[in-house]
């Protein structure tokens, strides 16, 4: 619902109010009036009173989002035409039996991607995010993909595993998903792949 920071701000804010109330009571006791009862204990919201500057920023954001999308699509069309476009995605499910450190991707025995993961990226993968590991061009026909996963396996041991996949590239963009899951029956990580239609 809210970010950790916002929640912490919320925490500080709540405490401040609590103390404001305490302080108000102390001061009011001194001057002999009733203390006002503070009860507003909200997290700071995303919504803020709108100013002219904020309105201008909002307009700019909308314009930039549109422009950014147009340029992103242009870049894709220019660099990776649909008939040769080929993408490899990576996802992580569970991940209790394998701590991913890095992935190397080969297409037809040629290294096309090397990725070393940050904590932030791993966290995003564990939450259900899917990383686009590679996008490139591939001629029509049969190809071999090899993904080499490097990390920490069960019992904290160094773990390295290569998985290969043969694909048939047609005239449409081709999307391949590499998926890392846990195999609880074998107590080993499992590496699967899927070609998306």
């Amino acid at each position: 619902m809210t970010s950790p920071l916002i929640r912490l701000l919320f925490l500080g804010f709540c405490l401040s109010l609590s103390l404001s109330a305490a302080h108000a009571q102390q001061e009011n006791e001194e001057i002999g009036t009733d203390a006002p009862s503070e009860q507003v204990i909200d997290a700071p919201s995303e919504a803020a009173p709108s100013t002219r500057l904020q309105g201008e920023i909002r307009d700019l954001k909308k314009q930039v989002l549109q422009l950014n999308k147009d340029l992103f699509l242009l870049e894709e069309d220019l660099l990776f035409p649909a008939n040769t476009q080929f993408s490899v995605f990576l996802s992580l499910d569970a991940g209790q039996l394998f701590g991913l450190d890095a992935v190397q991707l080969k297409v037809d025995d040629k290294i096309v991607a090397n990725h070393l993961y940050t904590d932030r990226e791993l966290s995003a993968l564990k939450r259900g995010g899917v990383q686009r590991l590679f996008i490139g061009n591939l001629p029509t026909g049969e190809h071999e993909i090899i993904a080499i996963f490097v990390g920490t396996g069960p019992q904290g041991r160094d773990y390295r595993r290569a998985e290969s996949l043969n694909i048939e590239k047609g005239e449409d963009p081709l999307f391949v998903e590499l998926r890392i899951t846990d195999d609880p029956t074998k107590e080993q990580p499992a590496f699967t792949s899927r070609v998306w239609e």
């Binding site: 912490l8 204990i41 995303e46 314009q63 894709e76």
Partner: protein, 626 residues
């Protein structure tokens, strides 16, 4: 005596000292259910890494490409959340509402109601928020159900419905952080309403549950709960209880000084000035510049004065005045620095804002100005303004990237056009219509001949080379016989000619059907080959035309983009400047308030010094107390 005033300030400070990333996503819960569209999963990947601009771009692009159809509802819900976190609230609400059509599954509708309730709550529309929550039919997925009950608890607390709030709170699992926040809120609310015992028990419940955690957020929450309980006890003159509650606030946590100061006051009130002054001095010895340290300087003088150590008290007050003067000088320098535009660099140094490569950023050591700025930065408004600035900087960085990329696009396109132009003559040759028409005419001539052979049953026309030679030789022999007919007896020769000619014709006529069928088959093959040639030429012509159209389309899409980017960059820079100015003004105002407060403390210290010296002088006069 103003211990709590200082504590209030340091508590706001604590939020920033906790080291949580500034730009966390609005909703960082795990994805529920399976990913059915890679583009959606990829947007989530960026969303979870606090890259809203990238996440929104990917979603919008995927939507244009029709790559979200299998998970459209989830994608739109995510986009709505992203818009909301990005400050595009009307767009978010419009998207949410659009998801509430009759075709939407109930589970999606529930999540939409929940999101809309959050929006309404954040905008202060509490009745609407409660109404939206009531529309939920069935439970949300576990994590969101906890959030929903947390939101409900907040709404009920706001409506003073403590019992209902307690009931709602108990529906949140105890291992959820939302349970901790809900209990914390309930505790604070009850204390504020004068039910300190009830409030304390909720706060201690939070503190005890998080006593052994290693999660920074939970540790901070546990500290805050203990501190709140301790301060409540302090307010109610329950000195022993305050000391007990405050004792477990982590010494290395951001609330440490505040807790120490509060404990010191409790010890003082309990009649143990030695313990009190020892703790106050411990705060001072840390050499920090936070509000609790400033207050501790004054408090030492107050405790000593109340203990009757007037000389020592005067010395402490004097030291406090010097320290506070130093603080005032520091604050003045910070204000000057902010006025001179150094704030952004300080924010960068503190990791409050980032330019490019956020993951790779190494936080610089805090500057001399940091303690005062952090205090001033504790407000929600400041955080909002900084977030705006961060988003503008992200936009500028992205636009600069595009600005550098566009010439590359133009170059690439130019090269493609040149390569295409170079291939064009070959393509045109391959698809030459006249050449194809000539081939078609040749085929027609051939077909006519086949038809004639068939019609006339012309077996001679299908003779092979040897047979043709043979026939020609026979024809020559016949002519020779005709010439010699009157002068010689040619009966035998004529008989041989007739026999051989007859045999040959018989062979040809007998084999005619087979040969004619083979000829027709050749015609069919020729037709097929010609048809393929036609199709290939057509396809090549089409591909060539399409390629040119694609190149034209790309060219049109690139044309003028540099001007648009330049214009947006200028807008962005102007707004960055304006936003920085707004932040500067906000900070300077907060610093001035801090300065006024510090000035009051210093005046108070100086006055106390003067007052005590007067008293000491008075006491030393003949007849005075020595």
């Amino acid at each position: 005596m103003t211990p709590t005033r200082a504590l209030i300030r340091s508590l706001s400070l604590a939020a920033l000292l906790a080291g949580v990333p500034l730009w966390a996503a609005g909703d960082t819960q795990p994805q529920e259910g399976q990913i059915r569209e890679l583009a959606y999963g990829n947007a989530l990947y960026h969303y979870f890494q606090d890259r809203p601009l990238t996440a929104i771009t990917r979603l919008l692009a995927a939507r244009d490409r029709g790559r979200l159809e299998r998970q459209k509802g989830d994608a739109d819900l995510l986009l709505g959340n992203l818009y909301y976190g990005y400050g595009l609230i009307p767009d978010a609400v419009a998207l949410f509402n659009a998801l509430l059509d009759d075709d939407s599954p109930q589970s999606l509708r529930n999540r939409v109601w929940f999101n809309l309730a959050r929006v309404e709550y954040d905008q202060g529309n509490y009745h609407q928020a409660a109404d939206l929550l009531q529309r939920l039919d069935g439970e949300l997925p576990a994590v969101r159900e906890a959030q929903k009950n947390y939101l409900l608890t907040r709404l009920l607390l706001r409506a003073d419905r403590i019992e209902d709030a307690t009931h709602a709170l108990k529906r949140i699992p105890t291992d959820s952080i939302w349970r901790d926040y809900a209990e914390y809120n309930l505790g604070i609310t009850q204390i504020a309403q004068g039910r300190a015992d009830n409030g304390r028990s909720w706060l201690l419940s939070v503190a005890e549950r998080n006593g052994a955690t290693e999660q920074a957020e939970r540790q901070a929450l546990g500290d805050a709960a203990r501190l709140a309980a301790g301060l409540s006890a302090l307010r109610n003159s329950l000195w022993g209880q305050a000391i007990d509650d405050l004792r477990l606030v982590r010494i290395d946590g951001p609330l440490s000084n505040t807790a120490l100061l509060a404990s010191a006051w409790a010890w003082h009130h309990q009649g143990n000035p030695l313990q009190a002054t020892g703790m106050m001095q411990a705060i001072i010895d840390k050499g920090q510049k936070d509000p609790a340290t400033r207050e501790a300087h004054i408090a030492l003088g107050q405790v000593q004065e109340q203990s009757g150590n007037l000389k020592l008290s005067a010395w402490y007050y004097d030291r406090a005045a010097q320290y506070l003067q130093q603080s005032l000088d520091d604050i003045d320098r910070v204000i000057t620095g902010v006025e001179e535009g150094n704030l952004i660099q300080t924010l960068l140094d503190q990791g409050q804002i980032h330019t490019r490569g956020r993951d790779a950023l190494k936080q610089a050591p805090p500057s001399e100005a940091s303690p005062y700025l952090i205090e001033a930065m504790a407000s929600d408004e400041f955080q909002r303004q900084v977030r705006n600035l961060q988003q503008l900087i992200d936009i500028r960085d992205r636009l600069l990237d595009w600005q550098q990329t566009i010439p590359t696009f133009e170059l690439m396109l130019d090269e493609r056009q040149r390569a295409f132009d170079a291939r064009k003559p070959r393509v045109e040759q391959s698809t030459d219509l006249q050449r194809l028409e000539a081939l078609h005419q040749q085929r027609q001539d051939f077909a006519d001949e086949v038809e004639r052979i068939g019609r006339e049953q012309d077996a001679r026309a299908l003779a092979n080379e040897d047979e043709t030679d043979f026939l020609e030789q026979l024809d020559e022999i016949r002519e020779l016989i005709e010439q010699l007919r009157g002068s010689q007896d040619l009966g035998e020769a004529e008989e041989k000619y007739r026999l051989m000619h007859g045999l040959l014709l018989w062979d040809l006529e007998t084999d005619f059907p087979r040969r004619y069928w083979a000829l027709q088959r050749e015609l069919e093959l020729l037709d097929r080959a010609l048809n393929e040639a036609d199709q290939a030429a057509e396809s090549l012509r089409g591909a060539s035309a399409r390629h040119q159209l694609d190149l034209n389309d790309l060219s049109e899409r690139i044309d003028g983009q540099d001007a648009v980017i330049a214009a947006r960059l200028a807008d962005t820079q102007r707004l960055i400047d304006a936003q920085q100015q707004a932040i500067n003004e906000l900070i300077i105002e907060a610093l001035r308030q801090l300065r006024r407060h510090t000035q009051q403390l210093r005046l108070s210290a100086r006055y106390s010094v003067a007052r005590l010296y007067d008293k000491l002088t008075e006491d030393q006069k003949p007849g005075g107390v020595k």
